[in-house]
Amino acid sequence: MRTHSLTKMGLAATAVAGLVVGGATAASARTSGGTSADSPTADAAASPAVSGSSLPAIQDKAHAAITARVTKMQTLITKVQAAPALGSDGTTLVARMNTDITGLTALDATIKADTTVAAARADAKKIFTDFRIYALVVPSTRMVVAADAVQGVAATRLTTAADRLQAAVTKRGLTAEQPTLDDMKAKIAAATAATAGMSSHLLGLTPAQWNADHHLLDSDRANLKTARAALQDARSDAKTVVAALRSK
């Protein structure tokens, strides 16, 4: 049921992306010397300032900015659907991005229908202020995937490894390895604690919150780094204990 639902969302998103990309091709034909919609340069050119004195220029640049964002989310949806251990978070992420794709596509149509430079500029600004795809949606999606990988994959597997190593150390009475094994367990706990509740927090963030605080993601990012380092340490501890068990 869930797979079917995701497939339907994926197809819908693909169709939307196809429409937008198709529109981008037409827009490029109208605009000489246009830059790639995927490049940061093109994106910078489509900043809220949405430079350009003519209405068609503003509309074309807005369209390119929307196309780049839709394409980015399309790629990300595929990666999210392939990521392990996401569960319901994956469904939420895909739904959120599909909603953004739909919203951006509608905004693109609105901008194309604008008849004044002022209206087109005001609507083009919404690409950024109302969506924050690059600043918030993409990074927070990536961070949810990472946080769930910490909790649902790495910490789980390391805990299983620690249990097996503990059984072997106890069985053979290798008390000298116990402190290393205890450190491994502590590092797993630290990684789990650093990412506790992170995914639900990230999934709840809105463009309005980012508009008010551009450092909205900083603490979660730092906690992910902490968790990653702790997992690395736990893995090193495990390797040390394994080597000791094999040599004695």
Binding site: A44, V150, R172, L231, R235, L245
Partner: protein, 110 residues
């Protein structure tokens, strides 16, 4: 009954009949065959020395703390597989963080 009798000084061994001697040799042959069969059964075709040749006090003892114990090897191999999987997950976490940073840097305007 033995075919020959231990002699003491000055005692002449009694003669035994040929038929009786034949029966005793037959019985000994059967006993030797049975013993050989028992030895072969003890080997179990493993090519090892017959278990019956080892005194009970020196029978092999399983050393559970041996580093080469198969159960431990299997458990450690499983741990190795888990750690390899963790390596892959750490790489995925790195890739996700890198893409998040790149996206944030792509446009100051979001």
């Amino acid at each position: 009954m033995p075919s020959t009798v231990a002699t003491a000084a000055g005692v002449t061994p009694r003669a035994t009949s040929g038929r009786s001697s034949f029966r005793r040799r037959g019985a000994l042959g059967l006993a030797a065959t049975a013993f050989a069969a028992l030895l072969l059964a003890g080997c179990g075709g493993s090519g090892r020395a017959p278990a019956a040749a080892v005194p009970a006090q020196q029978a092999p003892v399983t050393v559970t703390s041996s580093p080469a114990a198969p159960a431990d090897d299997a458990s450690l191999a499983s741990v190795d597989a888990s750690l390899d999987s963790v390596d892959q997950t750490l790489n995925q976490i790195d890739a996700n963080l890198a893409d998040a940073d790149q996206s944030r840097a792509t446009s100051d305007d979001g």
